[in-house]
Symmetry: C2
Subunit: 548 residues, 2 copies
């Protein structure tokens, strides 16, 4: 006795039958494309026929290297509904990572955006790409390319019939795949079963999730190669909402125009995107009448940004937190019932946190001894999480499985605090938190404190080995302007800044001025390189604090 | 590779941690009881310890015979979270059905409401109840009773510790059980796995479902023995909403008072309940300020009721459809985006239908040849449905499995039409639809048409065997008042009524006046008895219509 298998195909069935006329809009290289769910469903079936004609079978992996548009969206249902597995590749990764990923996944067919053909040519390596039998350029024509054999998407699907009998799939069937762009070591593959995507979709539909209804017009700016654009293409389809895809490299003007022209009610992306849009909207006196909500994730939105959208556009900025391993959404910073009446500052404070866990998930926050830390907004520990859309393993990485999981729990590697109301706040990455004398120091909080100084443009703090205290913080500071700055004075002011808000033992033992903080491929501080270059004990040994 | 198992325990974890102070309120024999999720969670753990002390193990069945209150709600998580199976028994069933059900399920322990002790004593049969080792009366004391051994609920749980380590359950673990109160033959048991309850809960949370958030105050009037009060106790907990349970035999005044005193925003029950509440509210000038939505199911709400709640109280009546086999919700009559602007009559027309299928489900409507009928609001056929919260079998009834399922589809036995917008409307029960000359005639539509005549108080229409047309409709009419009524005149008027709105061949071949329509135990027309008593061919043979 059991229910029927949980498969995402049911969402497409519902959208096609209940919302045949609702639109899917995409900004492409050739202008705005526009069609409805009825046409979309036909095209996914044409795509399925094309994949079958190419010999793609259930269990095979099909990759995409592409921006957000209708053709990419067609692969979202067209590939997994056949039983094949959609593997979305991040085109911003270094070539050697793309090679590793394609080889590791054994992709048989690769869909590539016209504007990413060059990137893929650059990453191409005959050995790594040995499993790839075909490239399909996601446009109406094939540009000059060394990729071979290659066809264009419209020819690939265009000749096929729009009728196709979707197979009945098991909920354990692999449906999606995405690699974490880890800052250290090889990327790790996370696979999504039909059931994981189904569960994540249902959870995101709820009021506790993204609260999506058929009246919503949703523009996912977050790339479709970043964990399925946070799962939104699936959620919107389940709800029968209108999709708006911003296409290749949208600038603030493109995004603002789509919001206004298409009547976008809800959009989602990283905070930097919204800073650009905010500036553009102010300069051009836009009011974003239709817009109600903006989801931000990937990084914490500054309070000023949350306030600006709230006060200037009456738009709620919804902070979220997720991971590739979570399909990806884990928490969202909805205000609880009653909090709407709080004064604005207090609300922004809450909204800035990563928020409340979605129904269906469970978490615990544990210290070094594996004990749960209290929910008091101050104590912090590593976040362990579990649930139906949280993976329990990495693809072909048994060694990672041992370090990154404990029983049914995923060890997220994120260090968090939880306040009395249950709001999670990311404090640091576990590998970056500084463990000093049995206590933890948040590198992120120190960096934010240092960067609050006018003279500082960037600051990174890392733990450096220390004989007595295990680790001590060392700060690496980039000055906004070298001219006329007294480094010793700045250094003293920085120490005072920290002393004001944090325990004495949080004050870095060393503060070094450098020209630039090294960055990873995705633009994050490369703390591993900082530690490798500067992190020997001599850096902190002679500057140990006098009391702790 | 997979996500963590889907179990309802995660919902309780979330409610306890995020909403410890949110209330659970119950009207009981002893007045209003009130506590919060923190206390509730403690009591479910005490209950788990009590069950363990009684020797109840994972896989065992634990029954309840009870009204809606906090103690009954405690069994909802307290029993399944241990791995045992909660079997809710309908106390309105005849004794022999209760006997059959208890014996068939092999219940080991039975919780019984103080006011239902007598009912259970009446149903008690030593052989049928051989598996039952213990009775627990859901109050603070045990009344005089022949049930043995027996204890009271507060003694049963009161001595136990509120700490208990819930086991990690498999999502296939049986968590719930409910018997269909079939009008013919023995009741059939439907079992709910953890996964089915989890899926149903997530689906009901969505805006397409019941759209429940932490600000909601929800009163399930639908009995907790009717498919888990339509799953609401689970949904409310997942959302962190406030629960209000109306207790034993609430009358309209009790319900109205709870709505006003507790600030109920959302309530749910069968239409007749709301007719009573409407009358009481009008008489007492109540305005139901807090109330926003009323879900109705079990039967179709009359348009006048939908209009009254809308116009007099600004309350949206949400028609739904479900089945025991569906955990139970399948469709809900939300208006689609844009329909809010329709004129009132057209909206009520839509709202009166059973509505739009929930995301995650798929259905088809098939005629006798197994062909799908078009969605045009006119053609009808039997509804086949499938999804993660739709059962694929009955408990120990392989013969029913063969007739009631086809592949992955449940044959619902409901005959429906679907309109162009995708709204499902129940037309008849499959066993009551009249199959005449290869076409189907809806007995329900004919009955409604006949009952629209002022002189008619009840009308039932059944199919009678016919040599040429296979079946022909025969109408059984109860007059509102015999005095001064010319039966032939009424008969002629009834024929005209039908001719006005339906094809000629829908006109019943015979119209018989009877004193009373026989009823089933649950108050529905007993058409089987009508057919047994009157349904021979002679009834229709001499009145065959001249043209079809």
């Amino acid at each position: 006795m059991a229910g029927h298998d949980q498969t995402i195909g049911s969402f497409l069935w519902r959208a096609e039958r209940l919302y045949p006329d609702t639109e899917i809009v995409a900004r492409t290289h050739d202008g705005i494309e526009r069609y409805d769910y009825a046409t979309y469903a036909d095209r996914t079936r044409q795509l399925a026929n094309a994949l079958e004609a190419s010999g793609i079978e259930a269990g095979d992996r099909v990759a995409t290297v592409s921006w957000n548009h209708h053709r990419h969206f067609e692969t979202y249902f067209g590939v997994p509904n056949t039983g094949a597995q959609l593997h979305t590749i991040n085109p911003l990764l270094p070539d050697e990572h793309v090679q590793y990923i394609v080889e590791n996944a054994g992709d048989r067919l690769v869909f590539v955006d016209p504007s990413l053909v060059e990137k893929l040519e650059s990453a191409y390596d005959a050995d790594a790409f040995a499993s790839v039998e075909q490239f399909v350029v996601m446009g109406e024509a094939v540009p000059e390319t060394s990729l071979d054999p290659v066809t264009d998407y419209e020819s690939f699907v265009g000749e096929q019939e729009p009728s196709y009998e979707w197979p009945e799939l098991d909920e354990d069937q692999r449906a999606g795949m995405c690699y974490t762009s880890g800052t250290t070591g090889r990327p790790k593959g996370v696979e999504y079963t039909q059931q994981m995507l189904w569960s994540h979709t249902m959870a995101t539909l709820t009021p506790q999730g993204l609260d999506i209804d058929d009246g919503d017009v949703v523009m996912p700016v977050v790339p479709m190669f970043h964990v399925n654009a946070w799962g939104m293409p699936f959620s919107l389809t389940a709800a029968g909402a209108k999709h708006v895809y911003p296409g290749p490299s949208p600038d603030p003007e493109d995004l603002a125009r789509l919001i206004e022209d298409e009547g976008v009610t809800f959009t989602a992306g990283v905070p930097t995107v919204w800073m650009g849009v905010l500036e553009y909207a102010r300069e051009n006196d836009l009011d974003f009448d239709s817009l109600e909500r903006v989801m931000v994730g990937g990084a914490a939105a500054p309070k000023s940004l949350i306030r600006a959208f709230d006060e200037e556009f009456d738009v709620t900025m919804l902070q979220g937190w997720g991971m590739t391993e979570l399909s990806p959404v884990g928490t969202l910073s909805h205000l609880k019932d009653g909090m709407e009446d709080w004064d604005a500052e207090r609300k922004y404070e809450k909204r800035q946190k990563q928020g409340l866990v979605l129904p269906g998930l469970e978490f615990r926050v544990v210290d070094d001894d594996g004990e749960e830390v209290p929910w008091n907004g101050e104590d912090f520990g590593e976040l362990y999480i579990r649930g139906p859309w949280v993976t329990d393993s990495y693809f072909e990485r048994p060694e990672a499985d041992e370090t990154d999981f404990e029983g049914s729990w995923l060890k997220t590697g994120d260090v968090v605090s939880v306040d009395e109301d249950g709001y999670v706040k990311i404090v640091d990455r576990a590998k970056d938190v500084i463990k000093s004398g049995g206590e933890w120091i948040s590198s992120v909080e120190l960096e934010n404190a240092l960067m609050a100084h006018d003279a500082v443009s960037e600051a990174a703090v890392v733990g450096v080995p220390h004989e007595r205290w295990q680790e001590r913080p060392a700060a690496f500071v980039v000055l906004a302007d070298e001219v006329g700055v007294d480094r010793d004075e700045v250094k003293a002011e920085l120490v005072n800044l920290i002393r004001e808000d944090y325990p004495k033992w949080w004050v870095p033992d060393a503060t070094l001025f450098i020209d630039e903080v090294p960055k990873t491929a995705t633009g994050k501080f490369d703390k591993k390189r900082l530690r490798d270059e500067y992190g020997d004990e001599s850096l902190v040994a002679d500057e140990a604090p006098d009391e702790r």
